[in-house]
């Protein structure tokens, strides 16, 4: 927790959003973990307000929405694709409005650093008639989230706050004010407003459109026109603003700048004022032409014809970069911009992300591959339906046991269709947090329709990929859930117990084939980061290789591929003691029994891994 003083603090954009929400008086905050949004709730949960990691984004949204209906100041935060999961209540919230203040943070991920797509959620604002506020750095994020709460409170309407990776995950100086008293609610029963039966919804629709007109007026003052006396106008939205002003300085160019903090709706009066002073306009925005569409619409209606550029000079694909702005400037201002840079050597070895040392998923994929073969199936004849989590890395060599990953819960959902189209039994691979997030309805579907599939749940006791946020699996047994849904074959394995795991998984595959309905096998072992974090400061055991027994067969480093196991020049294996955490996963992998564990297990070692 930060002690507030007059001095500036170094904060991530996401931390700045959290501190701004506290200054605005947030009383309830919810989220589902997802990069690049996670640090918002991680920061808020250290403070004295109600926070929760909800089971998925829809539930997170509804929890905050319900609180805002009761008059609370509520915030829900999620990654961009999470808002798709919450899109149903999002649309309704715009019809009902709220009695308190309701801010929805969507953290978009242009360039897809940790996501399946780079959708631009500013479109949700146009779609749902919800205003979108967009900061450009941590300081502006802090100030603008306060404005988001004020706007929502004034208009009694939800507000979308859109950030992107390079705002959320940029650290910079932020000046903070103290937090305000959290605003909670009181019981409000107003069925005419909150029950969206046709009669009410039709009336709400008219009210929604009236609020939208008011919002158009309200957003004018949140934007700024910097008049430098130029006939060239640059309209910059969100993160683009920082790149634009840096490039203007770099090349000593004068232009007027319309800085948009509300890309939806574009402030009409300010836009017309800015454009009326200009001969030429360049719109710089990350992602889709959300501002450009609106600007063209407004200018057409006003009968204004002006030379206008935007996405014709700046690619929609990938995040905003200095290079994109340089290219647009070189065309728009007709200047030569040549930067001299060195080339990356072509033979630089690749270094994709990989399972951590001690990761139970590595063992699970190793076991599963052997089990498939033991069940007399061919690896190229089995569809591995993957899901979203660290285990998506099972795609990479040496495992190559992921054939699809499209969205949260897709493993079981797609497996239903794969079987119907091919009559081949698919294997759905899903993590514990993802299972509760979106796997449950798909599994119920598979049980009801008797869809033969093996559901392999990798329960590592946490939501690992996003930084070890809690998972419902710690309190709700997945095996009990599966049985409760009517799954007849439910078994647990410890993925480090290789021989037994292979046996159980291959038997499960055979059972599915014979019984033509779904089976569930749960690999239960904690995320290695979770374990090592609890043991920080303790000495850990280490794996060692007996070089007399090691034959250099390469199984441990080429087919199991733990980063701590390194090939020597003579092809025998050695262990890097700084990387090894002594988990013991590699011990049963070695056919020559050359690997053993030296050193004492810390107290609670087995409990931490298997509890």
């Amino acid at each position: 927790m930060i002690q507030l003083a007059s001095q500036k603090h170094v904060l991530l954009g996401n931390e700045a959003i959290a501190y701004g929400a506290l200054t605005a008086g947030v009383g309830i905050a919810t989220s589902y973990p997802g990069t690049p949004a996670s640090e918002i709730l991680e920061t808020l949960e250290k403070h004295n307000i109600y926070t929760e990691w909800s089971v998925n984004e829809k539930v997170a949204f509804e929890t905050a929405y319900g609180a805002a209906m009761m008059g609370a100041f509520a915030l829900t935060s999620m990654k961009h694709v999470g808002l798709n999961v919450a899109a149903d209540p999002l649309m309704s919230s715009s019809y009902t409005g709220v009695d308190g203040a309701f801010v929805i943070v969507t953290a978009d991920d242009p360039s897809m650093w940790s996501s399946q797509n780079e959708q631009d959620n500013r479109f949700y604002g146009l779609h749902a008639l919800i205003p979108v506020l967009e900061p450009y750095d941590p300081q502006s994020a802090y100030q603008l989230i306060i404005e988001a709460f004020k706007l929502s409170d004034r208009v009694k309407h939800p507000v979308l706050f859109r950030t992107t990776t390079r705002v959320s995950h940029t650290r910079g100086p932020v000046e903070l004010q103290p937090p305000s008293k959290p605003v909670l609610g009181k019981l409000i029963k107003n069925s005419k407003k909150y029950v969206l039966v046709p009669e009410n919804a039709r009336r709400n629709r008219i009210e929604q459109l009236k609020r939208w007109e008011r919002i158009k007026e309200e957003v004018e003052k949140l934007n700024e026109l910097v008049d430098n006396g130029s006939k060239d106008l640059i309209i910059a939205s969100g993160s683009a603003y920082g790149y634009v002003i840096d490039a203007l300085k770099e090349f000593d160019i004068k232009a007027n700048i319309l800085r948009l903090s509300t890309p939806v709706p574009v402030p009409k009066k300010l836009l017309i004022e800015a454009v009326s002073k200009a001969n030429r306009v360049l719109i710089v925005e990350e992602g889709e032409p959300v501002v450009e569409y609106q600007v063209k619409d407004i200018l057409y209606d006003e009968g204004i014809r002006v030379e206008l550029h935007g996405k014709d000079l700046i690619s929609r694909a990938g995040e905003m970069t200095p290079e994109k702005v340089y290219y647009a400037f070189s065309k728009f201002f007709g200047i030569d911009i040549i930067t001299d840079y060195l080339q990356v050597p072509q033979d630089t070895p690749p270094r994709p992300p990989t399972f951590c040392p001690g990761c139970p998923h590595r063992s699970s994929f190793y076991d599963l591959k052997k089990a498939v073969i033991m069940a007399s199936l061919r690896l190229d004849d089995v569809f591995f339906s993957g899901d979203i989590g660290c285990y998506t890395l099972g795609l990479s060599p040496p495992f190559e046991e992921i054939d699809s990953t499209t969205n949260m819960g897709s493993s079981i959902g797609l497996a239903n269709g794969v079987y119907r189209a091919t009559q081949k039994i698919p294997i759905a691979i899903i993590g514990d947090s993802t299972f509760f997030h979106a796997g449950l309805p798909a599994l119920a579907n598979a049980v009801y329709y008797k869809t033969p599939m093996l559901v392999f749940v990798l329960d590592n006791r946490t939501t690992a990929m996003t930084g070890e946020q809690p998972s419902p699996s710690k309190k709700i047994e997945i095996g009990d859930v599966a049985k409760g849904l009517g799954v007849k074959y439910v078994k647990y394995i410890d993925p480090f117990d290789v021989n037994n795991s292979i046996k159980v998984l291959s038997e499960a595959l055979k059972w599915v084939k014979e019984n033509k309905e779904p089976a569930v096998v749960i690999a239960k072992r904690a995320c290695a980061l979770l374990v090592t974090r609890s043991l920080r400061g303790h000495e850990l055991p280490k794996a060692v290789v007996d070089l007399n027994r090691c034959t250099g067969c390469s199984i441990c480093y080429d087919y199991f591929s733990c980063p701590a196991i390194i090939p020597r020049p003579d092809k025998k294996a050695e262990i890097d003691p700084l990387t090894c955490i002594g988990c013991g996963a590699c011990v049963p992998i070695c056919p020559f029994k050359a690997i053993s564990i030296k050193g004492e297990k810390p107290e609670k070692w087995d409990e931490l891994w298997l509890g």
Partner: protein, 188 residues
Amino acid sequence: MVRVNILLAGIGGQGLMTAGRIIAEAGVYSNVKVLVAETHGLSQRGGAINVHVRIGDVNSPLIPLGKADYLVGLEATEVLRNLSYANKNTEIVINAYVNRPPLPKIRPLPLDKILEKLKGLKVHVINAEEIAIKAGNPLAANAAILGYLYSLGAFPGIKEESFLKALRTESNIKAFKMAQSIVKVKTL
């Protein structure tokens, strides 16, 4: 106003983000603006990552290609992967450490082969782990790198006492100070 761009390259888990945070904090103590763009999420898991550090008159987080004043590799291969951020005058600081990517059948480039590819550039090779171990904590390697960068003048306006405050632990401070006194500029 001055502007310094430092690209930190390495592997997820090596402490690059901590190094970036220390620079940003030291900046605040000395009233110098620092922006640090980090890599989070899936890419962190043992994969190649970089951290953009921009000091001074800056409003956007990413370093333009070819505009890094310093390119720093906590792992040597990662300098090559990020070479497009450098130009011929960029000071390249390399930790003498090569990590084999855990991929089947892969052959890492040894350090001498990496240095061969950087011939004609301003290259500094330091053994940060060795300094860190001498300072009493093998995890203080990034503090050693920061100390070396400090002695090259990479942080205009940021005072040493601000770094000492941001570094917090004794071993970090020791590594930071020890690295300042090692011999400079080994241009190949």
